[in-house]
Assembly symmetry: D2
Homo-oligomer: 295 residues x 4
Amino acid sequence: MRPKFSGVFAALTTPFHNHAIALDKFKDNLSRYNETELAGYVVLGSTGEAVLLRDEEAEAMVKEAKATAAPTKKIIVGTARESTQATIDITNRMAELGADAALVKPPYYYKSQLTQDVLRRHFLSVADKVRIPIIIYNIPQNTGIAITPALLIELSHHPHIAGVKDSSGVLSNLTEALPRAAADFSFLIGAGNVFLPGLIMGASGGVLAAASAVPALWTKLYALFQAGRLDEARKLQLDLVPLNRLLTQTLGIPAIKYSLDLLGFYGGPPRPPLLPLEEQGKAEVKRELERLGLL
Amino acid sequence: MRPKFSGVFAALTTPFHNHAIALDKFKDNLSRYNETELAGYVVLGSTGEAVLLRDEEAEAMVKEAKATAAPTKKIIVGTARESTQATIDITNRMAELGADAALVKPPYYYKSQLTQDVLRRHFLSVADKVRIPIIIYNIPQNTGIAITPALLIELSHHPHIAGVKDSSGVLSNLTEALPRAAADFSFLIGAGNVFLPGLIMGASGGVLAAASAVPALWTKLYALFQAGRLDEARKLQLDLVPLNRLLTQTLGIPAIKYSLDLLGFYGGPPRPPLLPLEEQGKAEVKRELERLGLL
Amino acid sequence: MRPKFSGVFAALTTPFHNHAIALDKFKDNLSRYNETELAGYVVLGSTGEAVLLRDEEAEAMVKEAKATAAPTKKIIVGTARESTQATIDITNRMAELGADAALVKPPYYYKSQLTQDVLRRHFLSVADKVRIPIIIYNIPQNTGIAITPALLIELSHHPHIAGVKDSSGVLSNLTEALPRAAADFSFLIGAGNVFLPGLIMGASGGVLAAASAVPALWTKLYALFQAGRLDEARKLQLDLVPLNRLLTQTLGIPAIKYSLDLLGFYGGPPRPPLLPLEEQGKAEVKRELERLGLL
Amino acid sequence: MRPKFSGVFAALTTPFHNHAIALDKFKDNLSRYNETELAGYVVLGSTGEAVLLRDEEAEAMVKEAKATAAPTKKIIVGTARESTQATIDITNRMAELGADAALVKPPYYYKSQLTQDVLRRHFLSVADKVRIPIIIYNIPQNTGIAITPALLIELSHHPHIAGVKDSSGVLSNLTEALPRAAADFSFLIGAGNVFLPGLIMGASGGVLAAASAVPALWTKLYALFQAGRLDEARKLQLDLVPLNRLLTQTLGIPAIKYSLDLLGFYGGPPRPPLLPLEEQGKAEVKRELERLGLL
């Protein structure tokens, strides 16, 4: 029940065409991802516009991922809802459909009520009742809720809580939590701009939105680290920072999708309220992809 | 299409029993609210734990509200989703079920992408396609997204955008927006601790969570203001502040539900991750209700 | 030792010429202010660029204020320092030079250490040792430190703590604190856009930066409120909001100084790092002054 | 004029006895620090309670540092003031007294006016007029003002701006700024919990508050990194995290001073409003020092 998660996981986009999910495009993208060194995929994460999907669309995505993903690729599915019970139900439904693990961000609407104690009870209740391992998802820039190292350490000892994806970019979350977390707890970096430093400090891998656009560069970075070729790894990490910033901070999902379109995947438009890139944003993305030798 | 909203609207709770919605309890509560001077009800607002409900539960609540609410009471339904299209769909569905207006908070997950321009397009797209008036819902303490006075002024000129519920407590939102908003735009105060000051500056009413617990005191405050009995109004406003703080800030929904239980309504437990009040919280609520002469 | 502060206090600018304080210009300004209905002056407040002055410059300003202010005008001097003892020393020095009261913002550099308990001890230590009344200064938008209503209530009972200037714009600070504060405690509004609502809820006056630019309009607003002419007061309050916003939020001190230059006072340049208004800002200020019939 | 800063710099405390600066204690501490591998000292930094000192006290500290520091140890002095001109004057005064470089945090009081453009002009004005190199000091947790990587890159090309001390803990500031900053620009880590990751990504050293308490452990960490003994370095970094957290986040300066008292240096009390550690804090600090084998 408690596998180790290591290597690079790509947070996948959800392809739309004429406002509907384009499962064929998703299948094509997956087929190409299957040929990479990615350790697996996150479906229905933040990058997957999960909060913009209907339940049946979400299920269709997971079914397609299960049908098409190479057997060696782990499928992690975003399943969090504001309600504790709904999170359990969706997680178990996604488990039936083939999810290997669930990525669970905290509830975040009733901010003044969501104390660390309430969050602890929520995660433990979910963990008690799910049939697949869960990975805690810390992304305070979107949720406004920070999971403290102290809470993470406590949660790490539940047998169904296998790891954390930390997208905060605050590396002290790792250096504070990891030494005191359960021994087989997986710390996954969710902020591409600190991926290498995180690996060096003990992270077992990363869940990276930018790895959906340029998977080979991130898996190369991971391989260089694994091989102890630190100077090359550092150079590559620094080279990737400007693109990563465009794809995950300045421009976001529309820029990831535009990159996919340029690089032979299907990107397509985001779903409103998100809007496609304007010309200036497109030029910035193109320039960075050219600088990295990808166009 | 653009009615004026004035007076006191109570943001209603959603009663649960054995983890399921208790429609009979909701009916009983509504019957009692029908006898008050409330101008109407908000169903599926923040107080209604809307983010913790399934779609079919939400629909059942609106149907019951429509069936039981006195014809003079307006029914405002919270209908916002992260997706623009989903917000439109749910709003129109709730219109079919009898909603008089929709309360629409902004999307708030992709914070770095949700510029004022993106929010403007979102609200205008929604307003273009809905069959009932919408009321913008500004509650930055929960969403992390603030709707600026400048955006509000712009939105106020759309014929389907009838007003705003401002729960921020920042009264300058009113003093800055109201003089330049469309003439028949309704500014509704959503923060009970500044209800009277808001009325004096031009708000036409309030949508108040605490009015679900103690409706008569808030409608009395409104009536005192209407009658120009300002000294009495001020005294009552100040008297209500400590209870309002408990019900909407310190302790939140569990405290509203506990108050209902004490006052002859049905409160019941909140849905997890929200937790029932502990003993200390109960004592604080009881003390305030006693101080106000209600117990 | 505990006088009541009521009416409109103008937060005065510090005039510079060739980078030095221009005491003659300050004297001229004061002579004009003496002819207004202002209740008094704040010297060395935020508007006075106090944090940009040397100690001897600060003393010269207070001496000039004492020499020139009409005897009926109270002189309130900003005296806060990060160090508790330094705050005491400067306060007592300013008392010697003629200050009637001191305006004391909290220390704010060591944010993680400055708990409400540390702030309480700081203010009580200062209050114990000063020879003039102090007015607590809550301006979290600049300091990053909020003084809670609970702390304010506690501090209000010290005989040397005469009141608070609240510049937060959060009117619930008043509605929560005032009913439980000491009976003769003065609540002064520091945010011009909620001046009238504050008065109606029980504030005894205001300390307003914008009152240094257009004193007659703010004292008129206060007089209308005093006379119970609420409709006229509300109209004037709303009329003043756009100018107030420019002078205290969007453009700040340089806009106040530019207004003074336009209105026959001496404004002059701010001290770097603050920079004089650019053309666009000047045009905005001019337009608002014209709209108010002042140019 | 643009030396490289590398290695470990300790941010020194300011010893007080009977509320006055105890220069003899400072001399004793310095004599002991001279025997370490520290690259130099920061005097009058945040750790040095600089904002709590009078100007003459500040000067006395720098004179003593110059008199006692070993000639190989660089002396970096905190010199920032809110006023641009005052910052220049103090910096040049400290240069006269023997400072090798100045540590300059941004102005931070007039937050709404302190745009990145205003900050840029401020730092460039200071840099133009000072006689020693300056090191930009980014500590948004205290100032509320963040210096963006874009601004830092621009400032790095001024010949008098030698580097940055980044205490934010946000390592992407380094990964984003360093590849595009001037070639000889020194990036110094100011957050002990990410010291090693920072070194690995290209930082040339650190300015560490915790290095005033346990200098040998931090210089050992730096030496391990220099020697390519990464596994040992990582282990030591993780070992240091809990103490670092106590000394720089949870408990702060009082905990550093208490550590000094336990370890044979002079710590003494902080200056109010800062308060000495209470018993619980003392026990926590003691426990961590014991765990590290230092007691």
